[in-house]
Amino acid sequence: MKNSSTTVTEAEAHDFEPVIGLEVHVELKTKSKMFCGCRNEFGAEPNTWVCPVCLGMPGSLPVINRVAVEYLCKAGFALGCDVAPFSKFDRKNYFYPDMPKNYQISQYDMPLTTGGGITLPSGKRIRLNRIHLEEDTGKNLHAGGAMSGSDYTLIDYNRAGVPLMEIVSEPDISSSDEAEAYLAELKAILSYIGVSDVKMHEGSLRCDANVSVRPRGTTALGTKTEVKNMNSFRSVGRAINREIARQSERLAAGERIVQETRGWDEGKGATYSMRSKEEAHDYRYFPEPDLVPLALEADMLARWRAELPELPDARRKRFAQQFGLSEYDAQVLTAERSDADFYEATAAACDDPKQAANWLMGDVRRALQSAGLTTLAQSPMTAAQLGELIRLVKTGAITGKAGKEVCDLLVAQGGDPKVIVAERGLGAVTDTAEIATMVDQAIAANQKSVDAYKSGKANAFDFIVGQVMKVSRGKANVEIVRALIKERLG
């Protein structure tokens, strides 16, 4: 993927190489919040899913959500991390109105997991530093859009206390393409294990990028900036490219890079300074005294690990091997767990993995688009129904053309393909006598083509076949048609 926002010249780009690390915040899809029993769900009326605990009212105390710990540990296992049997929570202290207690319960020096990594489709390995568990903040809604200059600010605390895991990579990423590939792979893994919705547009996945550049061929790290406020994988890529270009231009001009936090302005396609290192918070971390340390028993951790489903990478490899799919097909079919499940069920139902892949990536995808759907999960069609349709086409019970029509109906409404075929009269004509009549008519009506065929023009044969099909409105079994024409014309 090439991004257009870069203004760095080729010479500059050649002189400097970027070093990138990502900090990804992922909201966990638990039923209740991290430290209280309030519902954890996106999109409710503001300040309806709140209680004394997540509002930080005097005397309220946090209690750890066991499922959030389980989900994080499962993410850790899926990403090859070391899961700590003993960890603890800490307070991160800073004042901000969307944070009810003016401290965030997080993990500082004893995170739940360390190590691990993600292998990109290119084969490159991006190592992880750690994953820790914390609580999300509320949301500020500034009148006029920005905090400065707005008349007032409203705060929605529904999100306050939602379980959040922060996944910190090592600075192993060396381009915006790799960053986007990393995010795509991370998203696939997390959605596979079912611990998060990982929807960037709803904020259940958020990404900050630490970017620095250094003269190509050197090993010392340059001064980094942290870029925030990207709202899609694509804008992460754009922001990184822009920041690489900005830093390279500065260094090329003999200037220094200031360590700071920068915001990404999607409209302007530029980063801007939010606060410098000097203005950075001293978070005054210390162990959360309202919680006892987290001790996880070995058999529980083993059980969580055993409960993990097959992960995207493994499934991709298995699909290629077991079903003889191309690497591309396997990649597409495994990107979402539900799609991969659907594919496997369809393949089993029609007993033809190749055809199942072809239908899902061809006619089904097209039918989804024309039905205005974006994912397979939105369609009422089941894998058994699609499998039956493929079987009908394979056995010649219906023609390929009729199959497409049935597919459109299935994707839009679901249903039993056999019933649809019967109701709509889409069954193939396989009665030889009936087809023979049509063939004889076609031969009689197209003497020129018959003569042309007899004088050796092979495509004249196909023309006659086409005429028969036309007459049968596409329902005649084409094999029978061809056999009969051949028989007649000798």
Binding site: P52, P58, L61, I64, P97, K101, N102, Y103
Partner: protein, 485 residues
């Protein structure tokens, strides 16, 4: 006013009614309140309605609990649903919680009748009740003197027998010191014995709720009522709650009592105080106890350790008071941080600000290891001191305070005030059980004996205190100057 258990028994025998008792308590408090000012909020209508309800249930033959009809006073840092809760601070002057603390709910379940919310040093920071954001409270034994703190209002009203029972909280001595000053029984349970849910936090790793009562039996009944694991408080410990009244003893035969060498040399400089405690130990021996000398070598670092850990935790705990969601707000000129600053500048008193600054400093990167981490290590050593001491004795007996109640304004130097907790802080840091029981008088002013026991051995501690109380009868003495009933 009788003790809590006497009142309960008389109500149960229909010799009086909960309503009658509530009225007498309300009248007694009204009579002494102009002078003592022990309360921040009085709840007479609530108390009368509650008492009538208890009477009705008793009339129907229901079991209304171990404190059925007993009037109680609640320190104003326990959240009470629908009743203003200030933690002694102007910043919460208008705060009405939508929930009740677990301690309050448990007292209600035991049949207690809340009369009002008691005054305290702001956010429990102080040893005299003079740091209240509203007004000081006075000592019923001498209204020119302080009742101690931070649970000063609770101690004062029980000392004056406005109510027989109150609850307080103890972070470094905030139950034991005022109990000592007001001639009542005050128990700081083991950390984790009583739920902290709904208790407005000062220092989370030290705060613990406990009874402040007319006698040891009342303390045993109240502790049993409020103790136990609470799913809402992860630091509350799931160990069974014994029937503490069964542990109350009449003699001390076979009991080994540790006398702390370092504390004795410290109190030795004050002849009157030293003599009082020597007599207290002699009483224990007369009851059959064997005295053994024990050592707490790290106790001398208690104050320094406490004044790093407690302010550090409070600097974070009190960050939430910013005017954004509840409590008093002072608007900024269109800037939220200005609003925070103005609200906190106006809402917090000087001692609270001092500790927030101390704690913020101690947690700063670059100082954290030298201060907070070091203090936690000393805390571990202090726990080990007690482990060693309790290997040689069953309980420890020692001074609760270094002096009798002092005059209002006498300790204007903050450090002089901090020193008031010298004998109580080590037990708080170690998280063990400790209590104060009336032990006599110096210049006609009450002084308490501190008894400390290993974690979750409150029964053993109460048993020793009971035998001492029954033989010395100091707890029976009434405050001479104030209080009627």
């Amino acid at each position: 006013m009788l003790t809590g258990h006497e009142i309960r028994d008389r109500i149960a025998r229909r010799e009086t009614s909960a309503l009658e008792v509530a009225k007498r308590s309300i009248d007694a408090v009204a009579a002494s309140e102009p002078e003592l000012r022990a309360y921040l909020t009085l709840t007479p209508e609530y108390a009368l309605a509650r008492a009538a309800e208890i009477d009705a249930r008793i009339a129907r033959g229901e079991d209304c609990g171990t404190l059925a009809g007993v009037p109680v006073a609640i320190k104003d840092l326990f959240c009470t649903q629908g009743v203003r809760t200030t933690s002694g601070s102007k910043i919460l002057a208008n705060f009405v919680p939508p929930y009740s603390a677990t301690v309050v709910a448990k007292l209600e379940a035991a049949g207690a009748v809340m009369i009002g919310k008691t005054n305290m040093d702001e956010f429990a920071m102080g040893s005299s009740c003079e740091n209240s954001g509203f007004h000081p409270t006075r000592n019923p034994w001498d209204p020119s003197r302080v009742p101690g703190g931070s649970s000063g209002g609770s101690a004062s009203t029980v000392g004056a027998r406005g109510v027989p029972i109150a609850v307080g909280t103890d972070t470094g001595g905030s139950i034991r010191e005022p109990a000592s000053f007001c001639n009542i029984v005050g128990v700081k349970p083991t950390y984790g014995r009583v739920s902290r849910y709904g208790m407005i936090a000062f220092a989370s790793s030290l705060d613990q709720a406990g009874p402040m009562t007319a006698d040891v039996r009342d303390a045993a009944i109240v502790l049993e009522a409020i103790a136990g694991h609470d799913p809402m408080d992860s630091t509350s410990v799931d160990v069974p709650v014994p029937h503490y009244a069964d542990a109350l003893r009449e003699d001390l035969k076979g009991v080994k009592i540790g006398i702390v060498r370092e504390f004795e040399s410290s109190i030795g400089g004050d002849a009157a105080m030293s003599a009082l405690y020597k007599e207290a130990y002699a009483s224990l021996v007369r009851l059959g106890a064997e005295l053994v000398e024990v050592s707490l070598p790290h106790a001398k670092y208690g104050l320094a350790t406490y004044y790093l850990i407690a302010p550090a935790e409070c600097s974070s705990n009190l960050a939430r008071y910013d005017g954004a969601r509840y409590g008093v707000r002072v608007d900024g000129d269109g800037d939220v941080y200005q609003m925070f600053e103005r609200t906190r500048a106006a809402g917090f008193g000087p001692e609270v600000k001092r500790r927030i600054v101390l704690g913020t400093y101690a947690l700063c990167s670059g100082y954290y290891d030298a201060y907070y981490v070091r203090a936690q290590k000393v805390r571990t050593l202090m726990k080990q001191d007690f482990d060693t001491a309790f290997a040689a004795c069953d309980v420890i007996a020692c001074p609760a305070v270094s002096c009798p109640p002092f005059a209002l304004g006498a300790k204007s130097d903050p450090v002089a005030m901090y020193l008031m907790d010298y004998f109580t802080i080590p037990m708080s840091l170690a998280g063990i059980a400790a209590m104060s029981v009336p032990a006599g008088y110096v210049d006609g002013l009450p002084v308490g004996l501190q008894i400390a026991a290993p974690a979750f051995e409150e029964g053993r501690m109460l048993g020793v205190a009971h035998a001492y109380e029954q033989s010395t009868r100091f707890a029976w003495a009434r405050a001479p100057k104030v209080g009627a009933a």
